[in-house]
């Protein structure tokens, strides 16, 4: 993979750095990779190739590119770090991921930034807001580890199509309102980094933090360290694309990357966050970019789990961006409660039982059983798995196709949900 023609452009109120990305060992089209922000941050856009290297290294490794050739200078710590990150992912997930060599025109360290300035990746989700809340409690104003900026990245999880862009535009005032109360400056960064490798599973399992951190390197003259809020906790760490030992490998000599918060379980975070009314009011957890008027779809697993958690805490009615103020078993039943989220749901059971919501407890317990069954199905485990494998091998999956015509898909009762949503609107 070649990264060339690094340049800075200004267009009206927007400043952007961009570079041409060309695949060498894959017949994939090249693209102009960009990071853009408000022109008031233009002087923080650096001349080096740190952001492009960070964005491209893991996708290049994933697609079997042998090298990244960078036209321009880059920090040697980051060059070693992205190679180490690729090695780590290869150790986690195995072949076909190969070794990738970083070839830069020049290696040079970044001069230290004075005074130090700290940022956090900002979303309106539980993990990010809890981290900000904790930071505010731990560090007094003026301390170098107190977050000064919230980095709001858009374009690392989806294409910038109209619906996602519209959702992001509606999110911005929410971020500004929460940040204003937390005395954080919002630094928006828009990018098309998702286009390098749009494989959702790869992003979730391998490249999430590199995509985020590439955006931070794009404003590398502004910060000395940047924190990523952990979505997991010490007891439930999984190999993921953002992980406490993966993310710091993406540090440079000028920008330290931290993955923070595995001390706390997710429900613990929400419970603490409940003491910050503005955060509860503006909570946005959904990644489905729903159409107006709401920022959360209210139907995906993450939305329903968060709504159920808020209900258990008696705070769901205080939120503004969920379409529902009530949770009913019909919302839970269609969800896939897989191994990654089973514990999160299980944490809610005693609280819901205490609140007298036996209907939800029952729906969750059934969902967990169903999730395990589905997981076994996905893994082709047991005698049914043996039959499915045989069906695929001997009959090219014809038996499954015939069977699926008989089975009726489980779905939500749309009338019931519509009436709940109408009540909210």
């Amino acid at each position: 993979m070649k990264i060339s023609n690094l340049r800075l452009e200004r267009k009206g109120s927007i400043a952007r750095v961009l570079a041409r990305v060309t695949w060498e060992d894959n017949p994939r089209p090249g693209l102009d990779l960009f990071f853009e922000t408000d022109s008031r941050f233009a002087e923080d856009l650096p001349a080096g190739g740190e952001s492009f290297l960070t964005a491209c290294a893991l996708p290049a490794m994933y697609q079997g590119e042998r090298r990244i050739s960078l036209e321009g200078e880059v920090c040697p710590r980051l060059a070693a770090g992205v190679t180490a990150a690729a090695d780590l992912l290869r150790a986690w997930y195995g072949p076909p991921r190969g070794r990738i060599a970083v070839e830069a025109a020049r290696l040079r360290t970044l001069p230290p930034l004075k005074p130090e300035r700290t940022a956090v990746f900002l979303t309106a989700g539980i993990d990010s807001l809890h981290l900000i809340q904790t930071n505010r409690k731990q560090y007094f104003p003026g301390h170098p580890d107190r977050f000064a900026d919230g980095v709001a990245v858009f374009g690392h999880l989806s294409s910038s199509d109209t619906s996602a862009e519209d959702w992001n535009n509606r999110l911005q005032p929410v971020l500004r309102e929460v940040s204003s109360e937390a005395q954080l400056e919002v630094v928006p960064i828009r990018t098309n980094v998702w286009e390098i490798e749009p494989d959702t599973r790869f992003i979730a399992d391998e490249s999430l933090s590199s995509a985020l951190v590439s955006a931070a390197h794009a404003l590398g003259r502004r910060w000395t360290n940047v924190s990523i809020a952990s979505g997991r906790d010490a007891a439930r760490l999984e190999l993921r694309g953002t992980h406490p030992i993966l993310d710091p490998l993406l540090s440079s000599s000028g920008l330290e990357v931290r993955h923070v918060g595995i001390r706390f379980q997710r429900f613990e975070r929400l419970d603490t966050l409940a003491s910050w009314p503005k955060a509860i009011e503006h909570l946005v957890v959904c990644l489905d970019f729903p159409p107006p008027p709401f920022l959360n779809c209210g139907a995906c697993e993450k939305c329903v789990r968060t709504m159920t958690s808020l209900l258990a805490l008696g705070r769901l009615s205080e939120t503004r961006h969920f379409p529902f103020t009530e949770v009913v078993p019909e919302m839970i039943r269609p969800l896939f409660i897989g191994p990654l989220v089973e514990d999160y749901w299980r944490d809610l059971l005693p609280l819901l039982a205490r609140e007298g919501r036996r209907d939800l407890v029952k729906a969750i317990e059934e969902g967990i059983v169903e999730g395990r069954r589905a997981q076994r199905w996905l893994q082709d485990a047991g005698w049914k798995g043996w039959l499915r494998r045989a069906d695929r091998r001997l009959f090219r999956g014809q038996i499954r196709k015939i069977r699926s015509q008989w089975a009726s898909p489980r779905s939500v009762d749309p009338d019931r949900l519509d009436s709940l949503m109408r009540a909210r609107v």
């Binding site: 710590r77 904790t134 560090y139 010490a234 000599s253």
Partner: protein, 423 residues
Amino acid sequence: LIVSGLAKHSGPVRTRVSALVTWEDSARPPVQLFFETDSEHADSLNPEPNAFLLAGILPAFRHGERRLRVDGEICPRLIEGLETVMRLHIAWRGPGRRPVEIEPTGGRRASLRAPARSGMFLTGGVDSLHTLWWNRNHYAHDHPAAFRDALYIEGVSFPEETPSPRNRDVTRRQIQALAAIGAGTGLTVITFQTNIRRLELDNTFVAEEAMSSLLASAAHAAARRLTSVSFGAGLDLATLRPWGTHPLLDLNYCSSAVELHQEDWTLDRLTKIRRIAGWKTALTHMMVCFEGPLENGTYNCGSCEKCVRTMMGLLIAGRLDLAGAFPRREITVESLERLDPGYHVDFLPYFWRPLIEPLNAIGRKDLAAAVRRLIARAQRRQRWLEERDWKGKVRRFDRAHLGGILLRASRRARGLSPIARES
């Protein structure tokens, strides 16, 4: 656990910081913990509550103390980190322990950072030399990430109050090697003496759970001099496992005053050796050996598992003949056949297997075959230790049903001393 009476005593020759550590829920004797250095570096050492908290937390966790109360203010970042470490240990090793409550008498207050200055823990071994080599090759001397100081912690590896002749000799050789390396690289070598190992004498516990917390303790004792302290990883991606120094643990030992960095944990030892093999200082002053006492002023015995493994790496790199740090410049098949697999026999296959192909590549098929036999020997011993072979089945049966009669008879037959029934 109560950590109290933090104090600093500066004399004309030595400066010492200390604290009294008293157990609350465990019937263990109190210990006056200390770090000590020469008066030249007296300003480097201060009675930092963060440092004594780090020294005490994992022993307290292991022995079921309900809380750790420490005199003074503690950085909230460190508290969150230590709470994370205890939860990670529970996740790794299963339930049975509960996290210790950390109670600073002065409350939680973010530490302030001294002006940026970086240092490293230097032992003279391959890992720390590689960390130093990389740093010197990539940072200009005035960059804040360029190492200015090397910390050597005397007493962190050995828990004895009175060190054995072997341990005294290892320390002497290390200090000698570090002085030469420091002089060759412009590093100020600062030696701390400490008795922090007196809190927990169990070497296995320290190796498997607590090693880097003790290093972090020393780094925090120097918080007014150093804001960032690095150390070379001993394990790599192939050998990484729940262990007393691990990238997932070590990043939790930072405060706002001191960053602790475990470096190069994705690199294997052979890669590191290849990189530093062209560096004359490393070839002359590398000190990897923990055997002793040694004679003739050599750093390394040249015959233990670690020495031979390192020499093998240098042979592959084509530099063994220039490695003045070792008493011999050749490796024979016979020396490999005689080799004791060492302390951590379970690690041996991981350490040695990467050497086989490179040995073939340089035409030393005889040594490659000997390495394969060594690995097979280690695996046999590991099966024996874990009682996975047929002898293990007999031993388990003997213990469970015969009260150890067969073991005692076997020892008598081999002329070995009898062992107590309960052991």
